[in-house]
């Protein structure tokens, strides 16, 4: 921190621990059950297997983690209302479809646009509190966290109508003829979109500058308010897409359980991905890996016949182990040990040389 060590930017360093963690999980599963990752084509022409269900079920989390990474980087805090805003977005989607009557491609597209718009609006509410009124993100988003699901209920009412349409099934489960679950395509699409944004704009540079030193960023012509708002807008898009996927999976809106507790998992994914929760430098890829780690862990535990309700306890322990491995204290200890080992080797080599 204040030490005069020369630290380098970039590289794969940040991704080391999440990648290792993912590797260990995979290895563990392979040893436990060599057939764990076998993928088969079901008679309906859909790929099935544990690996597919990990990647499929992590879709919403991975998408939201992308947006969460940006908000974390620019604001140095987390949005804990994403689950609630996702429920609102889902409600809007369902409401639009109902209002249109018949479910067609066009009504679905309109519904998606509509729900993205509303999600952006709610995220901008959070963004305004954070960027203009300079309120800590967690506090600002506590408001929608506590009343967002009630707002969702207010939109869609207590009725949870079934959206029975092949289009919805195609969106939430699989498109006929394509063996890969659709939500996976949504993740890939969002990933490509985001990397295009990074490629053709200065979003990364601006976001990191604002996250590291807002005052200096401003004096270099960057508008911190705009950048923070932008990160919330992007999060809004992510949340809306996740909301639509969630609704399409079950074909109805369940405003109390849609994307429930996903905010906590998304923050975890960001942290496991090696991003600092205090903002600044970030790797979106890290967060996505983090999301897959979390789901892989869950599916592994299910496969070991741990009751769903008890999964949390094991998850907690693994999470602590992963962040512990990345903690500065452990890293320094490891570096010191490594150094000692190296010096020992050198002196031995030197001694040999003398002989």
């Amino acid at each position: 921190m204040n030490a005069k060590k020369t630290r380098k930017a970039g590289g794969i360093g940040q991704l080391m621990i999440p990648l290792i963690a993912l590797g260990v999980l995979i290895l563990f599963n392979l040893i436990r059950d060599p057939g764990f990752f076998s993928i088969s084509l079901s008679n309906t022409g859909v790929l099935t297997g544990n690996l597919v269900s990990v990647i499929d079920s992590a879709s919403e989390l991975a998408i939201i983690a992308m947006g969460m990474t940006l908000v974390t980087a620019s604001c140095g805090g987390q949005d804990i209302s994403v689950g609630a805003v996702g429920a609102i977005a889902g409600s809007i989607f369902v409401c639009t479809l109902q209002a249109m009557g018949r479910i067609t491609i066009w009504s679905v597209i309109l519904g998606i646009i509509f729900c993205i718009g509303v999600a952006i609006m709610f995220c901008c509410f959070n963004g305004t509190l954070v960027s203009v009124f300079k309120i800590q993100p967690m506090i600002a988003t506590l408001i929608l966290f506590s009343c967002g699901r009630s707002i969702a209920y207010w939109f869609s009412g207590s009725a949870t109508p079934q959206l029975s349409s092949p289009i919805i099934v195609a969106m939430g489960i699989t498109i006929p003829g394509i063996p890969v679950p659709t939500p996976i395509f949504a993740v890939v699409l969002m990933g490509i979109l985001l990397s295009l944004v990074f490629r053709f704009t200065n979003l990364r540079l601006y976001t990191q500058s604002v996250g590291i030193n807002q005052g200096a960023a401003r004096l270099n012509g960057i508008n911190p308010v705009m950048i923070k708002m932008l990160s919330f807008v992007i999060l809004g898009v992510c949340v809306a897409i996740a909301g639509v996927i969630g609704v399409s999976r079950i074909g109805q809106i369940a405003h109390q359980t849609l994307l429930v507790e996903i905010e906590m998992d998304a923050i975890l994914a960001v942290a496991i991905g090696g991003n600092s929760l205090g903002g600044g430098r970030f790797r979106v890829v890290g967060s996505v890996i983090g999301a897959y780690i979390i789901k892989m862990l869950t599916i592994t535990l299910y496969a070991m016949s741990v009751a769903p309700a008890n999964v949390k306890a094991y998850k907690a322990i693994v999470i602590i182990l992963i962040v512990l491995a990345g903690s500065p204290v452990i890293r320094n200890r490891a570096a010191v040990l490594l150094n000692r080992f190296r010096i020992g080797k050198e002196t031995k080599a030197a001694a040999k040389g003398v002989n």
Binding site: I139, L142, I143, K312, A313, K315, A316, I320, V323, S327
Partner: protein, 354 residues
């Protein structure tokens, strides 16, 4: 030359919270009447929320130190479940002894979580949000491992204890049949109020408390001033854990049954109460009495909704969300105008000197 010091930020924010609570309560008395005119209404708020007062204290301490603890609700859930199971399974004849052991069990669980989390946060330097999030997962997971089904306390001695209430005749009211019905305060509420005062004393007058304030004000400075920063932070989480364990016991006293989702999301209520009471998440600013009024404000809002024509659970959520938003904005505006005035005053002083 005696001169009054201007209010500190802590005092200012707390004063606002107290003022608004009194105003709100007075309005409720004037327009809703009924229950609000009886002292029992206020005591009911205390009785129902005694565990939340304790959780508020638990959160305020760590937030003053610049941290956060979102495992408190989970710890309450676990404690309630463990204690309920213990009480039902115990075959100790002496009921005082078994209840004491239950209390120790509750405090032990709380302390264990506090020590574990404090160690990881303070000595391993892991972000508190992640550690306590994992703590919450762990607590909730352990709770369902103990039992997925609700467990009702059948222990006679404990049920007797639950019924014990402090009767305050002069705050009572005359019922229709002419009998005086004294105001009743539960044991849990008394415990919460005592702990509230102890926590206040700890933060105001005990060295550790001041060290926690210093730590939240500026960690680097605190280190340079010779404060054992790591130990202070560690202890703040230990105390927080202890209070959550106690909150679990108090919860059981109010509602003697364990459930998988006991005190669900109550950590967020406790955070909201702390914020309304003027504790800043950035650390160094806050006061448990403010938090106490934060709890009262949130509880009163819910009571008002129940008694109003809008009686619906989602209106309660909306109202408390709106209240929280109102306070957050108010604080932001108050603090920023204060900051501006302070700079102006400093400029003036500089000019006079020069």
């Amino acid at each position: 030359m005696k001169r009054r010091e201007p209010l500190t930020n802590t005092q200012l924010l707390m004063t606002i919270a107290i003022g608004i609570f009194i105003g709100m309560y007075a309005l409720a008395m004037a327009f809703l009447g009924g229950g609000f005119l009886k002292a029992q209404q206020f005591f009911d708020i205390l009785n129902d929320n005694s565990f939340l007062i304790l959780l508020g204290c638990a959160l305020t301490i760590v937030m003053i130190g610049g941290g956060i603890n979102i495992s408190v609700g989970g710890v309450v859930g676990l404690t309630v479940m463990a204690c309920a199971l213990y009480l039902n399974g115990t075959n100790i004849e002496n009921s005082t002894l078994s209840i004491s052991v239950t209390l120790l069990l509750a405090l032990g669980i709380g302390l264990a979580f506090g020590i574990g989390q404090g160690f990881l946060i303070s000595y391993m330097e892991i972000q508190p949000f992640i550690v306590t999030l994992a703590g919450m997962f762990l607590a909730r997971g352990l709770t369902t491992m103990l039992s997925i089904y609700p467990v009702k306390v059948t222990h006679e001695g404990f049920k007797e204890l639950v019924k014990q209430k402090l009767q305050i005749p002069f705050l009572g009211y005359i019922a229709k049949n002419g009998n005086l019905i004294p105001a009743k305060l539960e044991i849990g509420a008394i415990v919460a109020l005592v702990m509230l005062i102890l926590t206040w004393y700890l933060l105001k007058h005990v060295k550790l408390g001041r060290d926690i304030y210093a730590l939240g004000g500026n960690q680097q400075s605190a280190l340079m001033l010779g404060i054992n920063v790591k130990r202070s932070r560690f202890l703040s989480y230990v105390i927080s854990g202890f209070l959550s364990g106690l909150a679990g016991f108090v919860y059981l006293l109010h509602m003697p049954a364990g459930k998988a989702d006991t005190a669900n999301a109550s950590e967020m209520d406790a955070i909201a109460a702390s914020i309304i009471g003027g504790t800043l998440l950035t650390g160094g600013v806050g006061n448990v009495f403010g938090t106490f009024f934060g709890v009262l404000i949130l509880a009163t809002i819910k009571k008002i909704i129940v008694l109003s024509p809008l009686n619906d659970s989602w209106w309660q959520d909306m109202a408390s969300g709106a209240m929280l938003g109102f306070f957050i904005l108010l604080q932001s505006i108050v603090l920023s105008t204060r900051e501006k005035r302070k700079i102006k005053a400093a400029d003036k002083a500089a000019l006079q000197k020069g």
